[in-house]
């Protein structure tokens, strides 16, 4: 398959008063054309930052991409000038943010906010842009789009705002869309609708999708491949089905047992992952998950496990897993 995006050894750090926060510390992942991958992990694990880094939208001056390559269609995005990068954003790569209310400008109409990207990338007038906005709103399932383009964000419901965000993201038919927890702030019934919408649209336009989420259930349904992140590193990667059914990292297994599943009897209690993620200013020497792990061995404390293939096309950064032992699998299945 054709590689669309290849992130190699990305390091994005935040320089704060307390020290350097290594939010993303040597992450590599790739997306094929038209493929959907998922970046999974709990809050603060670096999944959003690693995706924002692709668009070079990490908040400066505190945040800085320190090292790595981000190859998009063979071009290293980190080497582009500001102006070249600007032409990429929205046109080739776009993003759907988590908070549709705060992510839309309160004083501009929805139509305007959809059309403005088109106006610049396609060099069209506001009127043509608004016509296209009507079509896009129709596409994302907003009734009476010809009237709705003149509405302001506060006149839209949460689900509709996120639909409008999707319309903005697909406006220029980008090759890659990043969806940063697109359904976290809407209620469950709307979540499924929005995810179906995103999936149908990406399929139709043959757009690649990076789905950022903490919900492995979503992943199994919508993503082809999964990258599990923990404390700024990728700890497991593999096909969605493999990771979901045969987690090779105890953290992934922990994520799976801490969310309810409809295919299991309701008697099974949810098992939370105890403890807190490590301090990213001074990460531990060995495995970052070691202090919260029930299966750790002495080696975990001293040496950081590399990401290695533990089964065909299934990689994990875990010393236990690399010894072909997965006690957590028996427990979760």
């Amino acid at each position: 398959m054709d590689k669309l995006l290849e992130v190699r050894n990305l390091k994005t750090y935040f320089h704060t008063q307390d020290g350097v926060v290594k939010a993303v510390d040597g992450v590599s992942y790739d997306v094929n054309k038209g493929e959907t991958i998922a970046l999974v992990g709990e809050s603060g694990c670096g999944k959003t930052v690693s995706a924002l880094s692709i668009l070079r939208l990490v908040a400066e001056p505190a945040g800085k991409i320190e090292a790595g390559e981000i190859l998009f269609d063979g071009i290293d995005l980190l080497k582009l000038t500001t102006e070249e990068m600007r032409k990429m954003r929205g046109a080739k790569i776009s993003i759907i943010f988590q908070e549709p209310l705060t992510s839309l400008n309160p004083v501009l109409t929805i139509g305007r906010q959809i059309s403005e990207g088109l106006e610049f990338h396609r060099n069209i007038s506001l009127n043509e842009g608004l016509k296209e906005a009507v079509r896009l709103l129709q596409l994302v399932g907003i009734p009476h789009p010809e009237r709705r383009i003149y509405d302001y964000p506060h006149q839209f419901s949460g689900g509709m705002r996120q639909r409008a965000m999707i319309a903005i993201a697909i406006a220029c038919q980008p090759q890659l869309i990043i969806a940063d927890e697109p359904t976290t702030v809407v209620d469950v019934t709307i979540q499924a609708q929005l995810l179906e919408l995103i999936r149908n649209i990406t399929k139709e336009l043959n757009t690649a999708l990076i789905l950022i989420t903490h919900n492995l259930g979503i992943v199994a349904r919508y993503a082809h491949r999964v990258f599990v992140m923990y404390a700024g590193n990728i700890v497991e990667r593999g096909s969605a089905m493999d990771v979901y059914h045969y987690p090779c990292h105890p953290y992934t297994a922990g994520l799976l047992t801490s969310v309810p599943r409809l295919d299991e009897p309701r008697k099974i209690r949810l098992i939370p992952i105890d403890g807190q993620p490590p301090d990213l200013i001074a990460p531990p020497i060995g495995c970052a998950f070691q202090s919260r792990c029930n299966y750790s061995i002495p080696k975990c404390q001293n040496e950081k496990p590399p990401l290695q293939e533990v089964a065909p096309n299934h990689y994990a950064a875990c010393w236990v897993s690399q010894k072909d032992q997965r006690p957590w699998q028996k427990k979760s299945l």
Binding site: R86, A91, F97, N105, V107, L108, G117, F120
Partner: protein, 305 residues
């Protein structure tokens, strides 16, 4: 919107009435009267004066008479400037004071808002620090100190500008600058703070993610939102400037209303005080209405119905 304006205008009359009532009561509660002199006037003279100006009648009747006069466009006669009506005093003073105030307001906006924006866009740079430094200086130096300093530099030492007076462009420069210093500093500080807040908003990041040019992001996404708090303070500030400054008008010998009102209060010139308050109240009420209308124009979330 039209209904809102009509309703607010009707409210204005009630507000003005209440303001006049409170002023009237307070004015008469203050000890002293218009005929108090260092050398006391003969009781007969005071009695005659009171009779002539209607001050011998009960207070409520005086008030009713005053309001009746106001409704007919008659603000009464000044006690200290004999034979001059309040209307003619205001008509002479207001244009000068308002010219000064409006020029100072425009100057303050032109200087304050862009320097606040520049400071915020280049936070923690030399531009930012110098903008904050000047804003702090101009916010803390009193107008009369600034005025005297300017006079010493530009009139006494350099002989570029006349010290005082009214009528020429050169005579306007220093008082306008003195009046504008404080509001300019306030505009700069508020603009800086609100721009810094807006810059961090998610929708600005969204605008960037669309690949818009930086200039469009600034004008369309940042400024429109960051100017809302500036409008809030600009309204009362303009009212303050239009109604004049006792200190600046005194210092530069400008025959405006700001000076007159304060002198009127010292002289217990009841009709002048009432006329002055009426002018203040009308200006402030109208500008508040304008601010509310501007709010709705700039922020679609605000609707008055």
């Amino acid at each position: 919107m039209l209904r809102f304006i009509v309703r607010r205008t009707l409210w204005l009359f009630l507000v003005l009435f209440v303001v006049l009532l409170i002023t009237f009561v307070l004015m008469h509660l203050v000890p002293g009267g218009p005929w108090d002199r260092e050398k006391a006037l003969a009781p007969k003279v005071v009695e005659a004066l009171n009779k002539r100006y209607g001050l011998d009648k009960p207070l409520w009747e005086q008030f009713v008479n005053y309001i009746w006069g106001v409704l007919h466009g008659d603000l009464g006669v000044s006690y200290s400037y004999s034979d001059r009506t309040i209307t003619s005093i205001l008509a002479h003073g207001i244009p000068k004071t308002a010219t000064l105030g409006i020029l100072a307001f425009i100057f303050a906006l032109i200087v304050g808002v862009p320097s606040g924006v520049a400071a915020a866009l280049k936070q923690n740079s030399a531009i930012d620090y110098s903008s904050v430094l000047f804003a702090t200086i101009f916010a803390s130096v009193p107008g009369f100190v600034l005025g005297i300093l300017l006079m010493m530099i530009f009139s006494v030492v350099l002989h570029w500008l006349p010290t005082t007076g009214w009528g020429t462009f050169q005579q306007l420069l220093m008082p306008v600058f003195c009046l504008a210093a404080l509001p300019a500093a306030q505009f700069a500080r508020i603009t800086r703070a609100s721009t810094l807040e807006v810059i961090r908003q998610d929708y600005v990041r969204t605008a960037r993610s669309k690949g818009l040019p930086e200039s469009t992001i600034r004008v369309r996404h940042i400024f429109r939102n960051s100017l809302i708090p500036v409008i809030t303070v600009a309204g009362p500030e303009l009212a303050n400037l239009i109604t004049g400054s006792f200190i600046i008008e005194n210092l530069f010998a400008i025959p405006g209303v700001g000076r007159l009102f304060v002198q009127g209060i010292f002289a217990r010139d009841y009709t002048l005080i009432m006329g002055g308050i009426l002018f203040y109240a009308i200006v402030i009420a109208i500008l508040n209405l304008l601010v509310d209308i501007l709010y709705a124009a700039i922020d679609p979330r605000i609707r008055y119905e």
